[in-house]
């Protein structure tokens, strides 16, 4: 059985417009709350390194504000080319605190 390794990422109250950009273990990560779920994605577009912080969210698709490349925040996959992936991290909210699993 795999051991979970949750890391405190932020307080839910710190989200503004359901988002917060954080830096954790040297990774730039964007926390996105959608409905009652929290998602954690790499905050750097694979294309030209733009940050997604101000990117438009359409359903589960996050659009890069620079060149409109869109990625599914559940899988990290680019909508038109699944080989291009952002890192995504398991995330959860527990009593108002957001945790993400960074892996090893």
């Amino acid at each position: 059985m795999e051991e979970e390794n949750w890391t405190l990422a932020a307080q839910e109250s710190e989200l503004k417009d359901d988002r917060k950009a954080i830096s954790l273990n040297g990774q730039n990560i964007l926390l996105i709350r959608k409905d009652d779920e929290i998602f954690a994605v790499e905050n750097r577009c694979i294309h030209m390194n733009c940050k997604f912080t101000r990117g438009e969210l359409n359903g589960y698709n996050l659009k890069c504000p620079c060149h409109d490349w869109e990625f599914d925040i559940r899988s990290g996959e680019m909508t038109v080319a699944s080989e291009l992936k952002l890192a995504v991290y398991p995330a959860k909210i527990d009593s108002g605190t957001i945790y993400i699993e960074m892996g090893d």
Binding site: N49, H67, D68, V80, L84
Partner: protein, 110 residues
């Protein structure tokens, strides 16, 4: 914007995308350098490194699909040619890009 520095950045960023899609920079270094230089010029003028071999349509939705590398938005067409429209990128197994033919989209789609 320093042209040579920006070209080096394109090589790193675009190479990463192309590699994941099964492409590499053309072995014709002269072509690669020329096209990247054109893209720096376009970025200086328009704010984005558009494909220098395709015309801007004037609307964002369409124009963003020709920001280099535009492979994700033209996959079937480029895979059929084993190169992107400009020839900046070719399939990884291509050794001689001169053997590849440019196929108009209308011809590919017919």
């Amino acid at each position: 914007m320093d042209t040579e520095k920006r070209k080096a950045q394109y090589r790193e960023m675009f190479g990463r995308v192309a590699d994941a899609l099964g492409y590499k920079f053309s072995p014709d270094e002269e072509i690669v350098d020329f096209i990247l230089e054109q893209e720096v010029t376009l970025e200086k003028k328009h704010g984005n490194p558009f494909c220098p071999c395709q015309g801007l349509k004037g609307n964002r939705e369409e124009d963003m699909k020709i920001v280099c590398p535009c492979i994700p938005f033209n996959r079937e067409h480029f895979d059929a040619m084993k190169r992107c429209w400009c020839g900046l990128f070719v399939h990884k197994d291509v050794e001689d890009p001169d053997e590849l033919e440019q196929l108009a989209y209308s011809e590919f789609n017919s």
